[in-house]
Amino acid sequence: MSRIQSTFDKLKSDKRKALIPFITAGDPSPQLTVPLMHGLVESGADVIELGVPFSDPMADGPTIQRASERALKQGMTLRGVLDMVAEFRKKDTNTPVVLMGYGNPIEAMGWEVFAKRCKEVGVDGVLTVDFPPEESHDAFEHLQRYGIDPIFLLAPTTDDARVERVAKLARGYVYYVSLKGVTGAGNLDLSAIEQKIPQLRKHIKLPIGVGFGIRDAATALAVAKLCDGVVVGSRIVQEIESSTEQNVVANVSKLVKELRQAVNKA
């Protein structure tokens, strides 16, 4: 059983919702990423989404764009991100890690090499924002061969037929993009999410995480009530941006604890 599946199984039997924080690898600096990951887990993260920085992050708002720029400026690469996961696994063999980013750095490395390395270092899932099911066939064959879960996005614009298609390919969990927009946008519409999730469940038997636009404990709680897990990215990256290297781990941990407490009420 995959780490993602056993994590969600346990959450389900505990009647808890997953908290899935996102940080960009290499932000604010490469040496702080692994300490931040451990901090996230200690503060209550169930799954970590680790962003692979890309020069042209088309689906991201300004906050995560800047995080990518900071990371790239310090020489962050996909190889470097994979090494960080290896480092993280020395102390934590339980928490699932999902790499999230764009396809080109993986294309450049080669999917086979990438998938193999994911397996070696202990990556559990891969979410490639700009690789929809239509273009994912070869890529995900490699992931599956090495037991890495392909995580797919669903959106408010996704119709029933596409949901069915994604349901057949997806493993681990499915990431529902809560709004039409980029990461960190401010137009979260709870009633729209409430309507959409039951439609998704008709086909999706995997846990459904919801992200984009969740910016505080209140929205985290409200969204957690509607699904199986909440993804918080831009808000955490904002905290990283406004912290110093000395207090960033403490500040992020404090924020994630607040989110954890909120999600526990769901």
């Binding site: 450049a108 700009d130 929809p132 596409r162 039409k180």
Partner: protein, 409 residues
């Protein structure tokens, strides 16, 4: 037998396939939120493409609004001076708004109108596509937002003001290299946010399917006209057609109708910047860049060993882009088209030459195509004919050229 061979070759070149691929290139590499939007666009485009009413309206606009057909002009003094092949120019610079970009903008605006979209967005590099989008938005009564890199806004001030005069909102893009690719990123971010109300008028024959096919189809009027005009002028087709390639929309518009005319050589001219060896250029095909994925399609892409897109350089904002349309990638692999690069200084020399010999101020983009023609013409006989697509006029570039010459206007 001859006819049979021709028919076979016609059957052989049939791209893109139904999933939007040109061989290994193309596709729909987009975030999920936009996939239904590109699907809808594909369905609507295929529905209207062969609709007699749509075709008639497109033809009417091209004739009465754009001023087509654009003439072909024999650059006789320039050719004489070079002493070799005769250079002919397809005068897309004479179109309304001064470039080929209007052909595609009209086509997409007519589609947007039929799809009930009241808001259009566009990215622009040199500003010619932005001006074309702003123009058709005014013409058809739509709101228009144009994303333009802050660096390009500086380089192309006259076009920025033209867009504003036409009622468009020009949004400066400060991220990344502050040029065309970043303007594309920002337009995609707008589209994902306003997907239901908004039509993205994409400016080049790249991006997710159906854009490479649709933009090509709208731009093919260039090559289709030329195929009729050349025999009228010289009794035959040219020996080569030459066009500049950034994303490659003017080039594919000229090339596509000539693909099966196997006696006609096809040459695409990329921006060599400071020279391929310098690394500061925008010539992914000439420099043998690796295949990658950006802006919705798989293409030859300028990138570092880690798959990060690298900053490009060209004197011409319209060619300053790290990728290239998927059909050009295929034509290169098939060997049907050749791709070469022209450096900044060579383009500038061609710009000057056309001004002085023919009284035509060409766009810096088009000057690249012209420069290559000027390079090869002296090596060819006087009976040979090169048809250069003069894709745009150079009024927008006078500030750049003045600055390069150290002149203050």
């Amino acid at each position: 037998m001859r006819l049979n061979e021709q028919m076979q070759s016609k059957q052989m070149y049939d791209y893109p396939d139904s999933t939007g691929h040109f061989g290994q290139f193309g596709g729909i590499y987009m975030a999920e939120t936009l996939i239904p939007a590109v699907e809808e666009l594909r369905t609507q485009y295929l529905r209207f493409r062969d609709d007699p009413e749509f075709k008639a309206e497109f033809a009417y606009e091209l004739k009465h609004y754009v001023g087509r057909p654009s003439p072909i002009y024999h650059a006789r003094r320039l050719s004489d001076d070079l002493g070799g092949a005769q250079i002919y120019l397809k005068r897309e610079d004479l179109n309304h708004t001064g470039a080929h970009k209007i052909n595609n903008a009209i086509g997409q605006a007519l589609l947007a109108k039929r799809m009930g979209k009241k808001r259009v967005i566009a990215e622009t590099g040199a500003g010619m596509h932005g001006v074309a989008a702003a123009t058709v938005a005014a013409r058809f009564g739509m709101e228009c937002i144009v994303y333009m890199g802050a660096e390009d806004i500086q380089r192309q001030a006259p076009n920025v003001f033209r867009m504003k005069l036409l009622g468009a909102t020009v949004v400066p893009v400060e991220s990344g290299s502050r040029t065309l690719k970043d303007a594309c990123n920002e337009a995609i971010r707008d589209w994902v946010t306003n997907v239901e109300s908004t039509f993205y008028i994409f400016g080049t024959a790249a991006g997710p399917h159906p854009y490479p096919m649709m933009v090509r189809d709208f731009q093919c009027v260039i090559g289709n006209e030329a195929k009729v005009q050349m025999p009228e002028m010289i009794g035959r087709q040219p020996d080569a057609v030459i066009a500049c390639v950034g994303g490659g929309s003017n080039a594919i518009g000229m090339f596509y109708p000539y693909i099966e005319e196997t006696n006609v050589q096809i040459i695409g001219v990329e921006a060599g910047g400071h020279g391929i060896a310098s690394g500061q250029h925008a010539a992914p095909l000439t420099a043998n860049a690796k295949v990658g994925v950006l802006h919705g399609n798989k293409v030859y892409l300028m990138q570092d060993e880690n798959g990060q897109i690298i900053e490009t350089h060209s004197i011409s904002a319209g060619l300053d882009y790290p990728g290239v349309g998927p059909e050009h990638c295929l034509l290169k692999d098939q060997g049907r088209a050749q791709y070469v690069a022209i450096n900044d200084d060579e383009a500038l020399a061609a710009f000057d030459a056309l001004c002085r010999f023919e009284g035509i101020i060409p766009a810096l983009e088009s000057s690249h195509a012209l420069a290559h023609a000027m390079k090869i013409a002296p090596t060819m006989g006087k009976d040979k004919v090169l048809l250069v697509n003069l894709s745009g006029r150079g009024d927008k570039d006078i500030n750049t050229v003045a600055r390069l010459k150290g002149i203050t206007l």
